[in-house]
């Protein structure tokens, strides 16, 4: 029956098929005619890609049962010894082959025509800041629209009415679900809005198809109103069921993954602050309490502390299919939270921009941030604003090929700003000079100095920012030395701008300033641990260390507040953190309360060392004296 059905459907829809071929043919000719005119090609390409697949799939689906209604052939089909749902399915699959054939030709046209070939890769259609890919437009969307229209085609014999209705229904469902999800996402209820929306977008046509099947199986086709009623009832039930199922699933799994992704951790003397997808938290060292200080879902953990202020970037979605970044500031206890700068305001010079990263001055009076992809400007990327929201000023750093930026610190009483700028490396490029650069920006004149380049990871760490406020200070970084092909640990004195290599003998893989800013601990490529003292002007300790877990060197090292070093150890399944004294001898090893293959960063503040369980997204802290573990998050 199925084979005969395919033949029958192809015959019936041959008109539509030929029409589609004609349209594609016309576009082909148009592309060939305008090969030189890029603007025309863009226009033609957009029209073809955006209009053809949806319209065709809607028309094809909507025509599904139209001939049956016109001929009265539905009574014929229903009086055959075949289950009605099979008839529906056979028709659906038969028409699907027509759709596939046309889409195949469509893809062929876009892939083969030289003018159009690059289109799929570069095609982007901004929607919620995600680029709706060619794949979705060419394959998923037609299938969804076709199924929707076909499911609705049992309601009427007028193809155009059904096509229009299908488009309306689809738009309505998509928009409703998107808006609902976005507003819930804003409230921090769902952690992954996009997967939710995509799953529901696929479940909706399935629900409509099921409703259509049920209608065919149950309803009296000779009564159009009854038919429509049965269909609507079933459709509503299935759609609500889909929503309910997905919501339950999402809530259920979110419950277990409620604590997700710890992004950033900033340590202060009395507390430390960390950013997660659920919001911002503060752990008070004295009270040993974790509290949530802001509910905004943290996106890429951008936050910065300075003085008594905490600035962070949050995202929220308006109803206009766009997401906007907002720079917000609050006191470090979470009070007085307010917006500093938002990118959704059309009057704002930052409208439409993307904010990342953020830095607060040591006294908490100024906030610097990088805003990119601002439509109103392609030049100014660095911005500084006062923490009361006044005095927004933009700076052109003169850099056009930056991949991303990292802030170091304000310096010299907020007159200068230190930051690192990484460069885009072209794939396959062996250009080793594309390392990062250390910049100093004069915030009064706007002048930019490149203090060092060819900086490799781990990127730069400065001494505690408070000490840089005055103007003195040092920045340590790893620089690639072409002559020796080594990654050399270098220290730059900000006062004299003199550079000093700490350990030129070997490549350094990681380094860490101590809490008072006068010692540097580092790991070499040959697994040696060294300590450099500025007071004594040289290396005071150098030891070969074995048995420690230094698979991710830059995460492996930390100083305690009382001058000891912490390293990780992994013996079999057991991970532990080890304390080393001033002679780099192991004092004690404290076993981690969880086992994980991955080694996370170690932080230390006050009496505590903090470790992250990256698999379960939890934060644990241990009192180094009592060796008591406490789950912080």
């Amino acid at each position: 029956m199925f084979k005969k059905m395919i033949v029958k459907e192809w015959k019936e829809k041959s008109g539509l098929f030929l029409f589609a071929l004609a349209v594609l043919g016309l576009f082909f000719i148009a592309f060939s005619a305008y090969t030189q005119d890029k603007d025309a090609l863009d226009l033609l390409a957009s029209t073809l890609l955006l209009v053809f697949p949806p319209v065709f799939s809607l028309l094809l689906g909507a025509s599904g049962f139209s001939s049956e209604f016109q001929d009265g052939a539905w009574a014929f089909l229903f009086s055959r010894p075949v289950k009605k749902w099979r008839v529906w399915l056979a028709k659906y699959l038969s028409l699907l082959t027509v759709l596939i054939a046309v889409i195949f030709l469509f893809v062929l046209l876009t892939q083969l025509h030289p003018a159009l070939k690059p289109a799929p890769d570069t095609f982007n259609f901004p929607l919620l800041d995600k680029n709706v890919s060619y794949g979705i437009l060419a394959f998923v969307l037609p299938l969804v629209l076709f199924t929707t229209a076909f499911s609705l085609s049992i309601l009427s014999e007028k193809t155009y009415v059904v096509a229009f209705l299908a488009a309306v229904v689809w738009i309505f469902l998509q928009v409703t679900v998107t808006l609902a999800t976005m507003s819930l996402y804003d409230r921090g209820i769902f952690s992954s809005a996009f997967s939710l929306i995509s799953i529901l977008s696929l479940l909706f046509p399935v629900s409509l198809a099921l409703a259509s099947l049920i209608t065919v199986n149950r309803a009296d086709f000779s009564q159009p109103k009854r038919r429509a009623w049965v269909f609507t009832k079933s459709a509503v039930v299935f759609i609500l069921a889909s929503v309910g199922l997905v919501a339950l699933f999402e809530l259920g799994t979110s419950k277990f993954q409620r604590e997700r992704y710890v992004y950033n951790l900033e340590v202060r003397n009395d507390a430390f602050y960390f950013a997660t997808e659920r919001g911002f938290f503060r752990f008070d060292l004295a009270g040993r309490q974790t509290e949530q200080i802001a509910r905004h879902p943290s996106v890429w953990g951008q936050m910065s502390l300075g003085g008594d202020k905490l600035a962070f970037v949050s995202y929220h979605f308006t109803g206009k299919w766009r997401g906007f970044a907002g720079l917000r500031i609050m006191n470090s206890d979470g009070k007085e939270e307010r917006s500093l700068v938002g990118t959704e305001n059309q009057d704002s010079p930052l409208y439409g921009g993307f904010i990342y990263p953020v830095c607060v001055s040591p006294r908490g009076d100024k906030v610097a941030f990088i805003a990119r992809y601002v439509p109103k400007t392609t030049v100014e990327e660095l911005w500084v604003i006062n923490s009361d929201g006044s005095g927004l000023k933009g700076y052109d750093l003169g850099i056009r090929d930056a991949d991303y930026y990292l802030f170091i610190s304000f310096g010299e009483s907020n007159r200068v700003l230190f930051l690192v700028c990484t460069a885009k490396i072209k794939p396959g490029s062996k250009d080793r000079r594309a390392g990062a650069r250390l910049l100093r920006v004069n915030l009064e004149s706007g002048h930019v100095d490149v203090l060092a380049d060819q900086i490799r990871k781990p990127y730069v760490a400065s001494m505690p920012p408070e000490d840089m406020a005055s103007g003195a200070g040092r920045i340590a970084y790893i620089q690639y030395d072409e002559a020796t092909s080594r990654d050399v640990l270098t220290v730059l004195d900000l006062g004299t701008l003199e550079k000093q290599t700490v350990y030129p003998e070997d490549s350094v893989t990681a380094f860490r300033w101590n809490k008072s800013g006068d010692k540097l601990a580092f790991l070499t490529a040959s697994s040696r641990l060294g300590v450099f003292s500025f007071a004594e002007g040289g290396i005071i300790q150098m030891k070969e260390i074995t048995g420690y877990d230094i698979r991710w060197p830059s995460e492996a090292l930390e100083w305690t507040s009382d001058g000891r070093l912490i390293l990780r150890k992994l013996e079999g399944e057991v991970s532990s953190i080890c304390l080393l004294d001033a002679n780099l001898t192991e004092q004690k090893a404290i076993r981690l309360p969880f086992s994980s293959y991955f080694a996370s960063r170690i932080w230390s503040a006050g009496q505590y060392a903090i470790v992250e369980d990256t698999e379960r997204h939890q934060l644990w802290g241990v009192n180094l004296e009592t060796e008591q573990w406490l789950r912080i998050y």
Binding site: M1, K4, G72, V82
Partner: protein
């Protein structure tokens, strides 16, 4: 005689309009059943329900002892259907329609199909659109009969056709009956044609089955009685089964079902001056039944 099809308490309404309720019919194998009724009184609806094209509101249908549901499809292998308006298949050709239909039936007899095409002078390559109404009917016959149905259901297929075509059509049915012993359910309002071949009558009127009887028995027991009295006829004759009653001065004419000698005696008690009892044609019988 085996029971082929049976309905129990079948009811159907379209919105607030009740088509029929609590319908019980039984079809025995090998007989010809006539489904009579005025236009628009539910014959087509009933047939559609029996063929599972539309669902009944309540009630059961049994085919050969198995209960059917709206979703049942297997029994339709044995049921042929020729509707009132022939199915229109757009640009299909005769051969294509036959092949398309063949795919549905397990016991499709291809050779029989060819024979029927020949007998009906239908060409495989002919476009269905170009066939006359009569030829379309023959095509539908071929389509239905090639599947060797045990039950053939016809919904007033000959309305609008001329007499010779109808005559030929009936002959085809008869040949099929004689060859295969097919059970036939024939719905029509051309009653006099049915008269020659029907075994059992159903009359569907105002939502109820008002007659469910063997053709012969109905013919035997329905009578037109012409009466005349001295003076005015009596107000009532005091008997049941008077289908139609007309008065004209001293004269009175009634159609009675069932007629009996007792009833005759009852009338004689009124001393009529005239008492003529005559049989009726099926057409007249039908009209009498639906007059009320």
């Amino acid at each position: 005689m085996s029971e082929l099809l049976k309905t129990i308490g079948l009811s159907k309404s379209f919105g607030r309009h009740l088509v029929f309720s609590d319908l019980n019919i039984k079809l025995t194998a090998g007989k010809v059943y006539g489904l009579l009724g005025l236009n628009g009184e539910g014959k087509t609806t009933l047939i559609r329900i029996l063929l599972g094209v539309i669902p009944a509101d309540s009630g059961e249908i049994h085919y050969k002892d198995s209960a059917l549901s709206f979703r049942s499809a297997a029994y339709k292998e044995e049921v042929g259907y020729i509707p009132e308006d022939p199915f229109f298949f757009g640009g299909m050709r005769v051969g294509e329609l036959l092949d398309f239909n063949a795919a549905f039936y397990r016991r499709w007899d291809g050779r029989r199909a060819e024979d029927l095409l020949k007998r009906f002078s239908l060409h495989r390559k002919a476009r269905i659109k170009t066939l006359s109404r009569g030829m379309k009917l023959r095509l539908e016959m071929a389509v239905a009969l090639a599947a060797r149905p045990a039950l053939l259901v016809l919904d007033d297929p000959t309305s609008g056709l001329d007499v010779p075509t109808r005559h030929d059509f009936l002959q085809d049915i008869i040949r099929e009956l004689a060859d295969s012993g097919t059970t036939v359910l024939f719905s029509t309002h051309l009653v006099h044609e049915l008269e020659r071949i029907v075994d059992h009558l159903f009359i569907l009127h105002r939502g109820r089955l008002i007659l469910d009887e063997e053709h012969e028995a109905v013919k035997r027991s329905t009578r037109r009685v012409r009466l005349a009295f001295q003076g005015d006829p009596p107000q009532t004759l005091g008997m049941d089964g008077v289908l139609v009653e007309t008065r004209d001065g001293p004269r009175m004419e009634i159609v009675v079902y069932p007629w009996s000698d007792d009833k005759k005696k009852k009338i004689e008690e009124f001393s009529p001056t005239r008492l003529d009892v005559d049989p009726l044609t099926l057409e007249e019988i039908f009209r009498s039944f639906v007059a009320g």
